[in-house]
Amino acid sequence: MKGVLGLFEVAIRRGRITFKYPKKKSPLPEGLRGKPEFDFEACIGCGGCVNACPSNALTLTDKEDVRVISLFYGRCTFCGRCEESCPTGAITLTDIFELASFTRKDLETVAEYRLAKCRSCGNYYTTDKCLEDVLSAYNEAITDYDDVLKNTVFVCTECKRRAWSEKLAEMRKEGVVHE
């Protein structure tokens, strides 16, 4: 129908569209990207999510023997890259989107992890939980299990590099490996 009568008809036919929020809430679809939440048991403190976050909402600081991973919702863009990159599924996006608050502190989630010492040089290199996670994936039927662990898992990257380059130099001197 045309003109004013048409508008009238539309107005009457469609009824009331708005409702009294927040007493009544609208239904949310599944897969809504709401705020990300930590599952602190599953998180191993690897920092993969920190690497993936485009807006620096997730930050990682190593202080002495403690690793602090902090998520600040004020910067979060709810993109979901942290969820995609987490190896243990510890950070997931919920469907909570009402995040207004009076204090900044409400918007920060902080997780602290104990760091482990490298058995060769003594520096802190990774978290205890990371080590547990890696160890749980090793098959105990490997020969030289303890030896392998001592050289690969319980030392930091720098020491591993140094050890390998020394071994390589030795092997070259002995003629086992050529230039």
Partner: protein
């Protein structure tokens, strides 16, 4: 002069104006498929404004404080001469004083706009003056219809004289013209020109805040319902005398509030079904209104060649 009635009228006007505005907002919302704000919302807004800080424009000076309160006072004083729930008004003044006060309040709005030198205010003020100038003649002519047929310029005598049962069909046309003029004088879409929000950021009221803004808004609302109150006489003219007789004694408040609600409904319908006019379009429409209402006046004069007294 009836002091008790005067106080009653003024208090009723101030209390009722925002409520009717809230009703208008609710009706407009329902026509737009929305739930709309509660009917008391305009009261909440005004009370909030009264509590807010009042910032005066630097260039306004003393006048910036005086003009809003004056606008409110002048609009409210219209209720000294217009009857609300009774038949006779608190003070004798009739149509002439009423029209003068209506025009004065329109011009005060223009002065308010120019007080601070803000270009938006000045343009809005000049638009208000133009609009008032072209719409007032139609109001005067349609009210003169009533005066001619009622053989008096005073409201209580008009009511009495028209009650005698004669029906004047062209009065319906005058009534329609008057309703359109109500929309124009009240500054509602499609005649929202002086305060066009999206073009002029509020027009004449742009520099006021806090209590001053509350007074200006209240003045505007009170002026609108003063115009509605006079529309009651048109409505009365169409209800035959036996009904009026019983009506007035049975439920004396009913005609008044019914007219108010009808007027609000008319304004709300016009607001939700139209876009804003530009000035030349409004001028053209006012020209038509003037012509039509003049024709009705001529018919009234012909019927009642006894004159105004």
């Amino acid at each position: 002069m009836n002091l008790a009635l005067l106080v009653l009228n003024l208090v009723l006007a101030v209390l009722l104006a925002p409520i009717l505005d809230g009703l208008r907002r609710k009706l407009t919302a329902r026509l737009q498929n929305r739930v709309g704000p509660p009917i008391l919302q305009t009261w909440y807004d005004l009370l909030k404004l009264f509590r807010k800080e009042t910032l005066l424009p630097e260039t306004g000076g003393f006048l910036a404080m005086i003009v809003p309160v004056t606008t409110f006072t002048v609009s409210l004083s219209m209720f000294a001469v217009v009857p609300t729930i009774t038949v006779e008004p608190p003070m004798e003044g009739g149509i002439i004083v009423f029209i003068h006060l209506a025009v004065l309040s329109a011009f005060l709005l223009a002065i308010a706009g120019s007080v601070s030198g803000n270009p938006y205010g000045i343009v809005g003020g000049s638009r208000e003056v133009i609009l008032a100038t072209i719409v007032e003649p139609s109001i005067i002519v349609s009210l003169t219809n009533l005066a001619v047929l009622g053989r008096s310029m005073f409201f209580e005598e008009i009511t009495e004289n028209i009650q005698t049962g004669d029906l004047y069909p062209w009065l319906a046309v005058a009534m329609i013209v008057y309703f359109v003029c109500i929309i124009a004088e009240g500054g509602r879409i499609p005649f929202d020109i002086p305060e066009a929000e999206s073009e002029l950021t509020g027009g004449p009221m742009v520099e006021f805040s806090g209590k001053l803004l509350a007074f200006m808004k209240l003045g505007e609302l009170v002026r609108a319902i003063a115009l509605y109150s006079v529309a009651r006489f048109f409505v009365n003219a169409f209800i035959p005398s036996y009904v009026i007789g019983d009506w007035l004694s049975f439920a004396p408040l009913l005609p008044y509030f019914l007219t108010m609600v009808i007027c609000t409904l008319v304004v709300s319908l016009a607001e939700s079904m139209n876009a804003r006019f530009r000035l030349f379009e409004a001028t053209k429409l006012s020209g038509y209104l003037l012509v039509v209402s003049s024709v009705t006046l001529i018919l009234s004069l012909l019927t009642n060649s006894g004159g105004l007294m």
